[in-house]
Amino acid sequence: MDLNFTPEEIAFRDEARHFFRTAIPQSIRDKVAEGEGLTRDDMINAQRILNAKGWCTVNWPVEWGGKDWTSVQVYLYQDEMQQANCPTPIAFNVSMVGPVIAQFGSQEIKQRFLPATANADIFWCQGFSEPGSGSDLASLRTKAEKKGDKYIVNGQKIWTTLAQYADWIFCLVRTDPTAKAQEGISFLLIDMKTPGITVRPIITIDGGREVNEVFFDNVEVPAENLVGQENKGWDYAKFLLGNERTGIARVGASKAKIARIKELAALEFAGERPLIESSRFQEKLAAVEVELKALEMTQLRVVSDERKLAKGRQNPASSILKLKGSVIQQQLTELLMEVVGPYVMPYQRDFEGNNEPIIGPDYASEAAPMYFNYRKVSIYGGSNEIQRNIIAKAILGL
């Protein structure tokens, strides 16, 4: 056991630090720091910069642009990227559909999609959840009927993040209505421009537009867009969700938030002294820092264990990361609101776009929306209750 980095690892960290802070435009990193929404172009630009360096799809197989990095390198890469407030590569592309295609897709489908997915030439969205199938995902009803060399897709997806930006959607669809729920599901890739697809926005409580309903009305999908085998989609989905959870800990992003909270708490006054000097505030922040350090160590342990697991198997401990990581991210948004104080009140996100000066300090306007918005992180990607169910079953054997 040795918690020190080797000289090579330190050199790697320094390279990563330098790269993320110089190659990704400051304007994009400022938006991430302030919690402002990124445009589609911001996301694509940032991803292409990473991809050009070969640092976008590090979790993919080497032959498809992955890196044979050590777990420490992967950790340092993520940590430095998040601490520098770089946008994470589009999760739907890089942590979700890419690895599934690379693992389970045919050679043709890999060639067709993986390079474009890595370079964000295709912007993906995730069509899993349905109105009647959230936690109970396997009950999904959107059906795909095979007719000749096509599937005819009918049904509805919901909570589809950034469907308004997406070129393609990867969907779980029911291909065998007679089989047991988990055994009649397939993993299908659908071009969003196909006739019969309608996207309807859902505005979230923070006033943002990030989720949508997606309707499928007799949508014709070439059969070659099926990933892997028909009716094996559930296995692929489980593989994908496990990957999603590791990414969701976001330790580096939380470190960046803590740094920002400290910086801003020095500017705000509680009585005659800056808030950062209030012992109550210091202790609350320090308590979260302890939790975050513990999570960081846990993540390192999970990542290093995962290297030893057979390919494609998930470590159920990744649920611990999702559980703790989501709660810490949420707590930090509470602390940021506390820093801002009365100036959290003005609602300053408008869709018309006016040029009036911001009310209060310029960091105030996103504090409350971020707090509201971050309630999602304990809901999506398998709610925290579902994560507990997984841990109870898979780790505790209950």
Binding site: S135, G341, V344, M345, P346, E385
Partner: protein, 382 residues
């Protein structure tokens, strides 16, 4: 000890409960919000006709002499409806300041106007670095040939955008945070040198930024020249009122969540059949009931004349309400899953309102610090 409402209080409760149940359904509220003022003019008239605007004033002034308990009855109902009209700003803040600070002649002239819906009020006290300290006043009032000249800025003035007159604090003398020398003015926002910029708040209500640049007001606009103790009392009453409103909002979140647990099905059964969610909603109930108890305590103690005892009680209530509301709000969203995150559904709006209430006049932790510094609530056992 008697927790029962009087006959009059029960009548009041029935009528405000009915108003909210009949006219403040979530879909109706959306419409009210889209009106130019950000609330419903017709609803304001109706609130006026019900006599609610005269609540704190004596009958001779067009009111019905209600106290903090009556206010709590109204605010609890308004919390369930997420009422948008400027009742709190006009009656609880404005009415409270008039009643406690104004001379008999000013009160006699203005209270009937408030009671008849013709005079909407607001109170501006937040400044850039004042946070929750009411004594922290940098805005200045300078005497000039029988007038006062005001300079400074006030932030997040609740319903300041539609108020006909606005109370503001301005320093007549003393250092920035001195307790002495805080003047309370009642100004006309049309005065030269006064600007206001209205905007929506996170919870769908309205507020304004007010700037005062060489704004000349008459000596008669100075309502009180050493106003801090009075303002603190009015704010304590206002906190008690907000506690009641928050309890109403929490109750609605509890009701909506319970209903959802019974109807939403996953894994072939109502999600309310999962024991873990049953326990979570039991904990929500406990939090709501603890908050309700402390809101009651606050209402009873809001009239206490000993400022230390009053403030300790109010702070204790604000702590409980803040913590309960955060718990209930977060859990309400969580137990709804994705639907809880949408603006089209009511629960998120209650969550946003209670979140804003927590940070009005001091968040839970600020009040906890104050209470701890005062030695807590309980002394040695006698």
């Amino acid at each position: 000890m008697d927790f029962d409402l009087s006959e009059d209080q029960r009548l009041l409760k029935d009528s405000v409960d009915r108003l909210v149940a009949d006219q403040y359904q979530f879909e109706q509220r959306k419409k009210y919000m889209r009106e130019p003022a950000g609330y419903s003019a017709a609803m304001w008239d109706q609130i006026t006709e019900m006599g609610l605007l005269g609540l704190p004033f004596e009958e001779t002034l067009g009111g019905f002499g209600g106290g903090p308990v009556e206010t709590a009855i109204v605010m609890d109902a308004f919390g369930r409806g997420l009422v948008l009209e400027p009742y709190f700003a006009t009656v609880v803040l404005g009415g409270g300041l008039l009643r406690r600070a104004a001379s008999a002649s000013v009160l006699g002239a203005l209270a009937p106007k408030v009671a008849s819906g013709k005079l909407k009020l607001a109170f501006g006290h937040v400044e850039r670095h004042s946070r929750y300290n009411l004594a922290d006043v940098s805005t200045t009032a300078r005497k000039d040939s029988g007038n006062y000249v005001l300079d400074g800025a006030k932030s997040v003035v609740i319903h300041g955008d539609t108020a006909d007159k606005i109370f503001i604090t301005a320093r007549l003398s003393g250092e920035r945070r001195a307790r002495n020398g805080v003047g309370l003015f009642l100004i006309d926002p049309a005065t030269a040198g006064v600007t206001r910029r209205g905007y929506p708040t996170q919870d769908g209500q309205r507020a304004a930024e007010i700037t005062l640049t060489n704004a000349r007001v008459s000596a008669g606009d100075l309502i009180s020249d050493n106003a801090l103790p009075i303002i603190e009392h009015v704010i304590d009453e206002a906190i008690a009122a907000l506690c009641a409103e928050a309890v109403g909002a929490m109750q609605s979140m509890q009701d909506l969540t319970l209903e959802y647990l019974k109807t939403r099905k996953q894994f072939g059964r109502a999600i309310g059949s999962f024991q873990v969610l049953q326990h979570r909603s039991v904990d929500m109930l406990v939090a709501v009931e603890q908050a309700r108890s402390m809101a009651l305590f606050a209402a009873v103690m809001a009239g206490e004349e000993n400022p230390i005892e009053r403030r300790k009680a109010i702070s204790a209530a604000k702590v409980q309400i803040g913590r309960s509301a955060r718990h209930v709000g977060q859990e309400a969203i969580q137990l709804h899953g994705g639907i809880g995150m949408t603006n089209e559904y009511a629960v998120g709006h209650y969550f946003k309102r209670v979140t804003m209430i927590d940070q009005l006049y001091g968040d839970a932790d600020t009040h906890l610090s104050y209470l701890a510094a005062q030695g807590g609530l309980f002394g040695k056992v006698a």
